[in-house]
Amino acid sequence: MTTSKANRKGRWTGLLYISPWILGFLVFQLYPIFSSFAYSFTNFDMLSVPDFIGAQNYQELFTEDYDFYNTLWVTLAYVLMAVPLKLGFALAVALLLNAKIRGINTFRTVYYLPSILGGSVTVAILWRFLFMQDGTVNTVLGTLGIPPVPWLSSPDLALFSVSLLTVWQFGSSMVLFLAGLQQIPGELYEAARVDGASRPRMFFRITLPMLSPILFFNLVMQMVNSFQEFTGAFVITGGGPMKSTYLYVMKLYDEAFHFFRMGYASALSWVLFVIIIAFTVVAFKTSGSWVHYSDGGKR
């Protein structure tokens, strides 16, 4: 067999091996993506044949929808609260778990467990019982003489309480930070100690810069996930009180499956896509000034 024939055969063999994935991608991802874009220009309600209505859905969204801007601000507030808190906790715990002490692997497993439980409905229900008026948290506070806090019943506190569920699941970010910490050459810290650097100075001048690529990755991933948060708010508060936890994807869900305005929901999903892309682009554009790669190159 000539080389080009062998190459062609190899190429077809490779394609054959990945064909199940390609098929799945085309059917379950690409097709729905293009379909939803098409539906966003229709009045599709799932029960009848859709009619083309042009940009009416987008116009209604930006100019007439009573809840649209509220859900945007709530979602933005959620992202600005949950992402820094989660990354902060993840980094703090990773620093602690980077110690070389007996039983450290057990500690690492324990701190990772919440992430395995994931954003499941069960955990969200548990969260509600923890934070409701007569819940465990208020009971503990009561023993310290602190009056009950309206964690889930106050419009000012409910979003924070819901975001704590996301923060609690910091395990996956923590594991990445831990891996990054273990890659930092020890000589850098030795040299810094010789020069008389304090621990905070070493953290800000060595640890953070060396971790910045992982920090950037975690920031982008957590931001993208947070914009799409649904389960926690849906199960814990149902979007209340006073729609103070009514996240964007909850509105999308209501429009699609409560009111059966699938065309309108599709328009909402594309607006969310553009918003996430915009934030991601901003993150990438600004990364040049604070993300340091070990080979000195920009990405």
Binding site: S48, E64, S153, P155, P241, K243, F257, H258
Partner: protein
């Protein structure tokens, strides 16, 4: 030879039929319905009915999705409020009025006209009659000095609730289960002022801002006086008022709900009374909202429409079925089923008495469109703003009317196109 004998006319066996029947409910309803299905299958050995049942959560979405995907069951238990929305999008259900094999004569014609007819077709057969009731924990009411006889009016409810909460701030008179409470308090109050359904068939409002302001004013007064639990706390138990720790601990004494649901609130060794929801002096309509508990519809796309209709007719009209089902879907609307279930002692006397009182004091029925999910959402939004003191009652009324009129206009425009 054997084969030929089997193929001879008159010796053919009935065609094997598989039906899917879907419903929601609690354990009592599931058990009774499964027993009824077993009986039907014994009487009709060629028919196999696959039961698809569960809780109420998510059921509406599941049914609508299945209808849109053309995978809906043959027989579906549906809610009256969904039928108008669904039928406006297409022709999904069998019209029982065209079926000679369905005994519509057993049902009150007015009931069928008001609640089961959509687009001129009777597409839902009512399972039971339901009415809103006020369930009162009389054991605790007596202990706390609440005058139960003063709970029949809106003013009386306010007065007793204020006294109760002043006596012990941990106590509230009325449960704030959002789903029933808002509809009953806001639109129920308005109906008693106007004597009309809030929205006409031509999608016009029948109430004014002044009417709505009065309803919101009562609501604000109830919040301020501690008659109802603070909305933020109560919202966590929306549609699950029986799971509210305050109800379980008997710190909430009354709840407005449908007659078919009240048993789930009852706590062992506690005495209760069923009253009518509150009314007002010179009310222009009755105290209780009546409607079907649920409706059974037959899928027009079913492969076995005849058998599905036959089963539905048997399920709702057969005396033996009625003896099994009793009042798991409230008191049967079918006179045949009601008589059989009563004679067999299968109808709870408290439920029957409450429904009788509710029927005698019915509110004017809602026009189907006013029960649409988006309009209910608008009402709940406005009411929440009153409860959280973000808007004054008149401001909330103005906002609700503005948004409702806009939504009705868009519904009208969508139905024309």
């Amino acid at each position: 030879m054997v084969t030929l004998a089997l193929a001879a006319p008159g010796l053919a066996t009935a065609q094997s039929v598989n039906l899917r029947f879907s419903w929601w409910g609690g354990d009592a309803r599931h058990k009774a319905t499964l027993e009824a299905i077993d009986l039907y299958q014994k009487l009709n050995p060629n028919v196999k009915i696959q039961a698809e049942y569960g809780g109420a959560d998510g059921y509406q979405q599941k049914m609508k999705l299945q209808l849109s995907a053309r995978t809906a069951p043959d027989i579906m238990q549906l809610d009256q409020t969904w039928l108008d929305e669904i039928t406006s999008k297409g022709d999904f259900f069998v019209d029982f009025a065209t079926r000679k094999d369905f005994n519509l004569a057993a049902f009150d014609p007015g009931f069928l006209r008001d609640f089961c007819t959509f687009g001129g077709q009777i597409i839902g057969a009512p399972t039971g009659a339901n009415g809103q009731i006020l369930l009162v924990n009389t054991s605790m009411a007596t202990k706390m000095g609440v005058n139960v006889n003063n709970l029949s009016t809106w003013d009386g409810l306010l007065e007793e609730g204020k006294k109760l909460h002043a006596k012990d701030p941990n106590f509230y008179l009325l449960s704030h289960d959002t789903a029933n409470f808002m509809g009953e308090v806001i639109m129920g109050y308005v109906k008693q002022l106007t004597g009309k359904a809030p929205i006409t068939d031509s999608l016009e409002l029948t109430f004014t801002q002044a009417d709505l302001t009065k309803a919101f004013t009562w609501l604000r007064a109830a919040v301020d006086a501690g008659v109802i639990q603070p909305p933020g706390e109560a919202a966590l138990y929306s549609l699950k008022g029986d799971q509210n720790p305050k109800w379980i601990n008997q710190q909430i004494l009354c709840v407005v709900d449908w007659a078919s649901n009240y048993t789930r609130y009852m706590i062992k060794d506690v005495e209760y009374r069923l009253l009518l929801p509150p009314t007002m002096k010179n009310a222009k309509t009755g105290a209780s909202t009546m409607r079907p508990s649920q409706e059974l519809s037959v899928n027009k796309r079913s492969a076995h429409v005849d058998e599905a209709v036959k089963f539905t007719n048997w399920f709702l009209n057969d005396p033996e079925a009625a003896k099994i089902l009793g009042d798991v879907r409230s008191v049967p609307v079918s006179s045949v089923a009601r008589k059989a279930a009563s004679a067999a002692g299968k109808i709870n006397s408290m439920t029957a008495d409450a429904l009788e009182a509710a029927t005698a004091s019915q509110k004017v029925p809602d026009q189907a469109a006013s029960l649409g999910t988006q309009l209910i959402e608008i009402m709940n939004d406005a009411a929440m703003k009153v409860e959280f003191k973000m808007l004054a009652p008149d401001q909330a009324a103005a906002e609700m009317i503005k948004r409702t009129v806009a939504k009705l206009a868009s519904i009208k425009a969508a139905s024309k196109s």
